[in-house]
Amino acid sequence: MATNAAPGADTFPKLLIRNADIYGTRPAMRHKDLGIWQTWTWKQVLEVVRAYAVGLHRLGVKPGETVAIVGGNRPKLYWSVMAVQMLGAIPVPVYADAVADELAYVLAHADVRFAAVEDQEQVDKILSVKERVPKLHEMFYDERRGLRDYDHSHLRPIDDIIVDGRKALAEEASLSAWLDHEIASGKGSDPSIILYTSGTTGVSKGVLLTGERSLKAAADTVAFDKLTENDIALAYLPLAWVGDHYLNYAQGMVSGFCTACPENSDTAMADLREIGPTFYFAPPRTLEVLLTRVMIRMEDAGFIKRKLFHYFIDVARRYGDSILNRQPVPLVGRLFYGIGNLLVYGPLKNVLGFSRVRVAYTAGEAVGPDLFNFYRSIGLNLKQLYGQTEAFLYVTAQPDGEIYSDTVGRTFPNVDIRITENGEVLFKSPGMFAGYFKDEAKTAEVMTPDGYVKTGDAGFFDEKTGHLKIIDRAKDVGHLNNGTLFPPKYIENKLKFYPNIREAVALGDMRDFVAVMLNIDLTAVGSWAERNNVVYGSYQDLAGHPLVYDMIEQHIAEVNHSLAADKVMAGNQIKRFLILHKELDADDGELTRTQKVRRGFIADRYAPLIKALYDGSREADISTEVTFEDGRKGVISARVKIRDMQTEPVPAAVGKAA
Amino acid sequence: MDLAYKIFLDPFVQMGTAPDLLMQTLWEGLVAGVLYSLIALGFVLIFKASGVFNFAQGIMVVFAALTLVGLYEHGVPAFLALAITVGVMFGLAFAVERLVLRPLVNQPEIILFMATFGLTYFLIGFGELVFGGEPKVMISDQLLLPSGAYRVNMFGGFVQMQKIDVAAAIIASLMVAALAVFFQKTRIGRALRAVADSHRAALSVGISLEYIWVIVWFAAGIVALATGIMWGARSNVSFALEIIALKALPVLILGGFTSIPGAIIGGIIIGVGEKLGEFYWGPLLGSGIETWLAYVIAMVFLLFRPQGLFGERIIERI
């Protein structure tokens, strides 16, 4: 496509200028604000960002300096990224929901002098840890409310900076020229952004990316999915997450499509429905929650409607995917699917806001086949990709028409993948990171001498599809005492595919058998409880309820069955399980910001329970400290029941890792 | 000048010069007033107890009378017919409570008001379907109601009083007395007052609203029957009587929706005022002004005393 081969545009600022030329009057950004979709064209964005950049310059932002960006998906924060890059400085996005600790760590580690933040909440948070961030000199904020009485000696509204910049540009012509020169002199090899990974283990690392590589990577995917300036995406995932920066920011810049920001997190769903994106990304968890909601709401529907729904969903299961993949489908199938599309799928996609979605991706976790197939069957072109912050997202992805729920797709164009004998996946990609910020040691650790990056994931290429399959984190793959290969995540995922099970932690490495600790899904189980008039006061009550245990027991029995079917996995059947008394929570460090389980941490946090699981006791006491959203801490303690499971006979042969 | 004379002087001159005519007019006004009062009474009973503005009251009057006469025409002895009619009115009260009030409980007033419209239409259709639409003659004699007239000499002339009217006046006052007793003395009566004050209060002292409503509507039915007989005896029984229901509305405004004495006095004021107006001022405007005079009286009155004769002043609080 014409748009990817951006001649000379090897940095984001240059690209922005190009876009203002080519797509001048097309919408670059929309934001649901004050009840309507405020819109900015590429020209307008360029103008604002230039003014902003000049304003920042006058405040003393220098090339090579780092500027923190803290907040949700708001135009002004995206512009902050652009403006900072325009000055050759480095934006450092930070998760808006990061607790003060994490925030302090990142700001300090990235030694930022400036921070552009969303609102009073963030300002307060940063001020609360000010002494831990000595270098921090000045903050800019988007939302004025409540900040009026604050000491403004080192605090100012972003608007004012932009206005100031405009004035300056208007007054001295030289400035404009100077800015142009600044932009032109920017090199593709310069760092364009630092993204802090929410490390699955330990503290987060700052992944340093360069403009040229980022754009190359983005160009490839834009071509791969044929994204154009006519596409539109809703930016609702954390600004600081590589996904948002890549999918919305980078791809938007390259393809010139429009990025829309929701009014606020509560209205995101409604906004999605209004704006009707054509490109959509959702982590499996989101899709899961959505599907659960759909099913629950349908439970309340009238008898006939419910029957109708389930009948046609069934029809879709049979034909939908093949139709989407343009495979031959019996005429009657097409006919029924057509009716279903009129009566169910179409309306359903409409209420979910998917009607116009052309390309949808999910990644970050394994997706349940049911979940995945559901969305595909109703005609949502959902695909999987496998990626990493270090790769600037993409490593593999599924091309249209080659979709399998259990693979993460083909090696991506211009990417090179190698798999070590112990199953770890290595890659070399155009978007590859330049290194960890201020952390050569770590960088060296993950790089092979010949310049490949270790993903830390174990996987293998599937013979018949040629797609990559990821089974687990390489270091997490362990063995039972009887030598059976034990990939915990694989088992956990099988469990989590049940709507009632929200989170699962499988144990078994260097132990005699597999045992699991579970979180039930409050929404799903809650409504189940209502329907079966099970009374409960809190998550804890519900989790401890015998009937709930029974229900979960059935699920696990099924899992065991499916495990038993697979030769390699048969040894991993679950022998004991318990339901945790509290939900695993990122604020307690049990999950990462991207909602991944922190194994090590959980292992010692719940040591008593784990011990009980293996010493055969029927129940165990546990008390855990929890952090509330406002940062206060408290302690929850409970007595957790443990159940034994029947397992099915294990086939004789015990295999080894693929 | 001339007109002013016609309006402001002439009528009073006439009154002075022919006091007997004046008395006659007053008497007729009084009798008409009594009948208005009776209908208004029906309204008040129901409005007090169930907060329903019962538009059907007028029709109930006709319906009752029609049933009575109709039954008689089908060969039922007069007093048996009367008894049966009473039964019918009870049935009606019961049905209304079951089929209209209960399903509509807690609906806004306007809705209940509308429902009584529905009731009106139904009763008209039903009555005519069963007993035929043509006007009927009230069976006054069979019910041993007096006929003929007294001639009372006074002011050198005489005033003619139909005996039936006298009877009407007497029966009306008896009925009011009876109701008064009913309200003051009987348990149900007290219950009714409780309900009128506050439904919740009524419930809290263990009175079933449904029960109360049936009673009230029945009572209103009886009042309607009596009214029907009286009115029927004066003119005759047909749905033309419907109009008198509307006559009762200004009475209510004067008297206030919830005051029984108000209904009586209001009725008489309207009745008398109307007749005087018609007789002395009517000719000026061309006759028939009694169709609206009552309302104008009421409306003017409202402007000065929005809460009616006996209603108490409402202080709005926020």
């Binding site: 004050l34 009840g35 309507i36 409310r145 409540g146 009014e263 509560d266 209205t267 | -």
Partner: protein, 266 residues
């Protein structure tokens, strides 16, 4: 919204003052001979036990009740009594103890209704809802949306207020009052019947209003904690008589006040 006026500059200047106001209903004295003033940009609390005549006080200020004796001076204009709509014209807005929203209308329309006084376009334009009328409608919608954003009630914009939970209704009502861009905002127990969290939110909003728009606020509140945190000055009524007037701390330590509150549960 109106350009924020700096409280410190404006402080001291009297916005509204009541002199020897007395009010009674058919012999029952609600307020007797009460005088106090409200200064520009301050938050003024009126407190007192139940039946102290607090609400009646507000009703007098915005002209819903007419005092038998006494004078009311608002923005230098002295008069024996206010008239509701004149008070509104003069820039006095008001919320009610038990929410008085237009239940049949959406949150948006309720707040838009608050702009009525600011809307000028005549009936004919209204009929066509075109040109100037539409322009005006849009302009005011924009103002209203700012308030909606300010009060964080975006999700309920289109919900008929009758269906909203109490806490939100109170917010919408505040929004409607703000839409009038009042100089003096009367809040009658803005936090009655709210849970702790809602109370915190509401206090925040009240402070923000005072701070963001520089609006002068007079509020009645039962929750002493709230009053002490929010208000600059407090006047205490008991049985329609003023028993104390001063800063929260002065009032707190005032014997008369303590006595008045003895036995009154809060």
């Amino acid at each position: 919204m109106r350009a924020p006026t700096d409280p410190d500059v404006a402080a001291g200047e009297v916005l509204l003052s009541l002199e020897n106001v007395s009010l009674s209903f058919g012999g029952v004295k609600a307020i007797s001979d009460v005088s106090f003033d409200i200064r520009k940009s301050e938050i003024r609390a009126i407190i007192g036990p139940n039946g102290a005549g607090k609400t009646s006080m507000l009703n007098v200020i915005n002209g819903f009740y007419h005092p038998q004796r006494g004078r009311i001076t608002f923005k230098g204009e002295t008069r024996a009594e206010m008239r509701p709509y004149r008070a509104a014209h003069g820039g006095i807005a008001r919320t009610f103890q038990n929410v008085a929203l237009f239940r049949g209308m959406t949150a948006l329309d309720n707040i838009m209704a608050g702009r009525t006084l600011k809307m000028q376009r005549g009936f004919l334009w209204q009929m066509l809802r075109y040109g100037p009328a539409m322009a005006e409608e849009v302009e005011h919608r924009h103002r209203v949306e700012e308030i909606i954003d300010f009060l964080k009630i975006q999700e309920i914009r289109r919900v008929p207020v009758g269906r909203l939970p109490y806490g939100l209704q109170k917010r919408v009502e505040l929004g409607r009052a703000l839409a009038m861009e009042p100089e003096l905002l009367l809040l009658d127990e803005p936090m009655a019947g709210m849970n702790l969290e809602e109370k915190e939110d509401m206090s925040r909003f009240i402070l923000d209003v005072n701070d963001h728009y520089g609006t002068t606020i007079a509020l009645i509140e039962h929750d002493m904690g709230v009053v002490m945190d929010l208000s600059d000055r407090v006047v205490v009524l008991d049985h329609g008589i003023k028993i104390a007037d001063g800063t929260p701390d002065e009032v707190k330590s005032d014997q008369a006040v303590i006595d008045a509150y003895l036995g009154v549960a809060h």
